[in-house]
């Protein structure tokens, strides 16, 4: 019961309170780039969720069972980025083989997940927070993906409506998106302190 409690609180906290996009500024590039249409945003979110769950789990295993055991902490970043690149490659091959239609609609965005800072960021945060339980690492990774999907979908919804608004010439494009994102983080700040 206790473990379940910790897992549940960890999940909620990473989705809402410590949302990677809105409080840690991770994954801003796709957040601003892909969030034009809601269906694209959702697809991107799902792909990121899958990759982040896989690579979060794998990097935890490598970090705890190999690197820490043999004192190879120095090579941590190189190993992490290799694992992420490998996981993205795997997802790309899988999607191309079994969902060719989805593969076409993703286009360039699929390989670009490698350089999505949310993924490497989460692997580093798991290491930084000192998570020493495999199950917790898996739940946190999955929650980070869900949090990313939620943030990018909210943003896409707002931007679809923003297209109809009359925005001053110099604010068009990125500036107004950033200001919208700022107001969104203000809303999410209300959750801060909900969970210690």
């Amino acid at each position: 019961m206790d473990t379940l409690n910790i897992l549940l609180i960890g999940f909620i906290s990473i989705v809402i309170v410590k949302n990677l996009v809105l409080t840690k500024f991770l994954g801003i590039c796709p957040y601003l780039g892909v969030s034009g249409r809601i269906d694209m945003a959702f697809g991107m979110g799902m792909a990121v969720t899958f990759v982040v769950t896989l690579s979060g789990t794998l990097t935890w295993m490598i970090d705890h069972w190999v690197l820490m055991k043999f004192g190879l902490g120095v090579t941590r970043y190189v190993c992490f980025i290799l694992v992420i690149a490998g996981a993205v490659q795997l997802v790309e091959m899988y999607v191309r083989k079994f969902f060719p239609f989805l593969y076409k609609s993703f286009g360039i965005f699929l390989p670009l997940i490698t350089t999505n800072c949310a993924i490497l960021g989460l692997c580093l945060f798991i290491n930084l927070w000192g998570i020493d339980n495999l199950l917790e690492a898996v739940v946190l990774s999955f929650g980070a993906g869900i949090g990313f999907t939620m943030a990018i979908c909210i943003m896409a919804g707002i931007r679809e409506n923003l297209n109809l608004a009359d925005v001053p010439e110099c604010l068009k494009g990125a500036p107004i998106t950033l200001i919208t994102a700022g107001l969104l983080t203000l809303a999410f700040m209300g959750f801060a302190g909900m969970i210690r």
Partner: protein, 206 residues
């Protein structure tokens, strides 16, 4: 040939200046947004971050430029990331040893330089196509442009959130600090307004 030499000097100068304004990584290309937003609560960490990025950018551009003829197209990105990850590890260990306080403030954003789009973008569009000198100059221009942008953004946020700059108070004592400027909200909105300003200024020029 003096004419040829002049042309190369001209090219070097143009490459250097491009990173500062015309192709400024943050304001014009919208690259490297994550560190831009995350470390600009105060000028000091922003400056440290800028220096680390210059170091990694220059070193990785040098290495990529050296091996540009050996690169296989499908392994390109992987080689870039591995090169960058190596130099980022060096920068991170250096900061941890000599600037432990800064290293703590910057936290995971130093290792996150690995996935900073600026560095991969420069390796891909410049270093893998040009010779050593052009690559180094390009890296310096881009790096300095990035650092300056970070410092401007951090300066605005630090003045408004604490009334000080580089931890030296400059505003009168009666100033009420804007706490929001230190939080994510301040980062997003300040950058949005700065981008709008840059857009407005560059439109007027032409």
């Amino acid at each position: 040939m003096p004419g040829e030499k002049q042309a190369t000097t001209e090219l070097y100068k143009r490459t250097l200046v491009a990173g500062l304004w015309n192709e400024n990584p943050v304001f014009r290309l919208l690259l490297g947004m994550c560190p831009t937003l995350a470390v600009t609560a105060a000028v000091k960490p922003a400056f440290t971050m800028g220096l680390s990025v210059i170091f990694v950018l220059v070193c990785s551009n040098i290495v990529v430029s050296f091996m540009r003829n050996l690169l296989k197209p499908h392994l390109r990105i992987l080689m870039f990331t591995l090169t960058i990850a190596t130099f980022v590890t060096i920068a991170d260990l250096f900061l941890r040893a000599f600037q432990p306080r800064m290293s703590e403030v910057l936290g995971p954003y130093v290792p996150l330089i690995i996935v900073n789009c600026i560095i991969i973008c420069r390796a891909e569009t410049c270093a893998s196509k040009n010779n050593l000198i052009v690559s180094i100059i390009d890296a310096l221009g881009m790096g300095v442009g990035f650092t300056l942008t970070l410092c401007v953004l951090a300066g605005v946020r630090e003045i408004l959130s604490t009334g000080a700059i580089w931890e030296i108070p400059i505003l009168p004592a009666g100033f009420v600090p804007w706490a929001a400027m230190r939080m994510p909200v301040g980062a997003f909105i300040t950058l949005g307004l700065l981008l709008a300003l840059v857009n407005a200024v560059s439109k007027r020029k032409y």
